[in-house]
């Protein structure tokens, strides 16, 4: 079966940085999966998501979308953005408009939808993320949890098949975090895929179908959570022993 999105031996080194952020990373991403990316700060989680979303072009290796290599031309990237959405770590970095309604409408209009279709996409994404009642609110008056869901809606309005999420649940209280995870579940139930980079081990254990372990830019394991949890060597790469207590 062809993967929805696949990274093939992808490497990337940021200019001025002596070590590569990503080294020969390969990862097939199938439809309908819940994938969690674990690793220490600087392990390459964000870079992996930036490469997968086409924001950063790999210096080596290739990214595949529906079995075809990603074309980095304007039209090729537009096609990639139609299928792959990226949610940033801080919603404040993503929400550019002072109006929730206008911010969510930005992506669909960029995809070439007309006003009526864009309106429909905004309403659907708002319903999916439980932010319909926030549509006429200013973005700067939202709570952290509301901002996170509005940022999600802004990406989901583009109806991506694969959602890449960079620690978007960090800093949220447990209720807000659960609301965001519920949105992920709805997306997966509709056949979508979610790739979530996080430090939340409990969430990874409970929610993921597959865990990707990154260490110093290399993917060292891709396995179900139970297998990762059972491997002391992998656990040592992810978090100190105390963090695993009770998990």
């Amino acid at each position: 079966m062809t993967a929805l999105l696949a990274l093939e031996a992808v490497s990337y080194q940021f200019p001025g940085n002596p070590t590569p952020a990503l080294q020969a990373a390969s990862l097939p991403i199938a439809a309908g999966q819940r994938i969690v990316v674990l690793g220490r700060n600087g392990a390459g989680k964000s870079t992996l998501l930036l490469v997968a979303s086409g924001i950063v072009r790999p210096q080596q290796g290739r990214v595949w979308l529906h079995g075809a290599p990603v074309d980095y031309s304007r039209s090729g990237l537009r096609r990639l953005r139609q299928h792959v959405g990226l949610v940033m770590q801080s919603p404040d970095d993503q929400l550019f408009s002072a109006s929730v309604w206008q911010d969510i409408s930005f992506g669909p209009l960029n995809l070439g939808l007309n006003a009526a279709e864009a309106r429909q996409a905004v309403q659907e994404a708002a319903a999916l993320c439980d932010v319909t009642d926030l549509l006429d609110r200013p973005t700067h008056a939202l709570s952290g949890g509301q901002k996170a869901r509005v940022a999600l809606a802004g990406v989901l309005a583009m109806r991506p098949q694969c959602l890449l999420v960079d620690e978007a649940t960090a800093g949220l209280d447990l209720w807000a975090r659960q609301q965001v995870v519920r949105v992920f579940d709805r997306l997966v139930a509709q056949g979508g895929t979610v790739v979530l980079a996080t430090h939340d081990l409990a969430l990874a254990r409970r929610w993921a179908d597959l865990v990707v372990v990154l260490h110093e830019g290399q993917i060292v394991a891709v396995a179900p959570p139970a297998e990762v949890w059972a491997d002391p060597a992998l656990r040592a790469l992810i978090a100190p022993p105390e963090a695993w207590e009770g998990l």
Binding site: R81, D93, Q94, F96, F106, N110
Partner: protein
């Protein structure tokens, strides 16, 4: 004050009313204040506009009063130059003359009348503008400019600046708290040092945020233009009627 004005602009009773309607009433009032060159027009416009803002839009009197009060102080200070003249001798028709060393500070009936005239026009216009500002959030004003076909670049810059302003204000608050917790403002010297560090750090944060924003916009298909759906508004017939009454009373 900026946050308070913004808060009431979003929470008042005329929030959903078309900004074109509110803008038209405010601009018409300002034009009448300028064109009808009578002091009473300015005072009447001031009273009407404060009343519509408080009574009809339900903006608290203390907020509308604080805004016009602050403006009044500045305007009053500005017209002192018109009312008072400085000379070697007080004019024969001076109503008030105060010696100031070898000089005389004096005011005549005509100069006081001119000063009050200018003050009334300025305050009437300021109150009309306050009505617009206190009842219309900046996103609606930006939308108004978009509909008036203002240049896209100007609109995008305004929208991004408005959004960034609140993000940076939050960041500024957090930085000041962190500095205060480490005695950053415990002395005059520490205050100077902390303020300088705060300014430079804020600049770096703003730059980093702009880069992150660029990544986020690119991920959502940004192709050089911030295209968004227009906002929808209602038309308030009663407000048109009130606007007409104000205009008629001023004329």
């Amino acid at each position: 004050m900026l946050r308070i004005i913004d808060q009431y602009a979003f929470a008042n009773r005329l929030r959903a009313v078309d900004p074109i309607q509110k803008g038209a009433i405010a601009v018409a009032t300002i034009l009448l204040c300028l064109v009808l060159d009578r002091p009473l027009v300015g005072w009447l416009a001031l009273a009407w506009m404060v009343m519509v803002t408080v009574w009809y839009a339900r903006v608290p009197l203390r907020v509308a009063g604080a805004v016009i009060g602050a403006e009044s102080v500045f305007l009053a200070l500005s017209v002192i130059g018109i009312a008072v003249s400085v000379g070697n001798e007080p004019p024969a028709a001076a109503l008030l003359a105060i010696p100031f060393g070898p000089l005389w500070l004096s005011a005549t009936g005509a100069s006081l009348q001119t000063a009050l005239h200018v003050l009334s026009r300025a305050l009437g216009s300021a109150a009309a503008l306050n009505f617009l500002i206190l009842t219309t959030p900046l996103i609606d004003l930006i939308e108004l400019l978009r509909r008036l076909r203002a240049p896209a670049l100007l609109i995008e810059l305004m929208a991004l600046s408005y959004r960034a302003l609140f993000v940076l204000l939050d960041t500024l608050d957090q930085m000041v708290t962190a500095q205060t917790a480490r005695l950053g403002y415990a002395s005059w010297r520490a205050t100077l040092r902390s303020s300088a560090l705060l300014g430079s750090r804020l600049f770096i944060v703003a730059y980093q945020r702009s880069q992150a924003l660029e990544v986020a916009l690119t991920a959502r298909g940004f192709a050089g233009e911030l295209r968004v759906l227009p906002l929808s508004y209602t038309v308030d017939r009663q407000l048109w009627l009130i606007g007409g009454l104000i205009g008629a009373s001023l004329v």
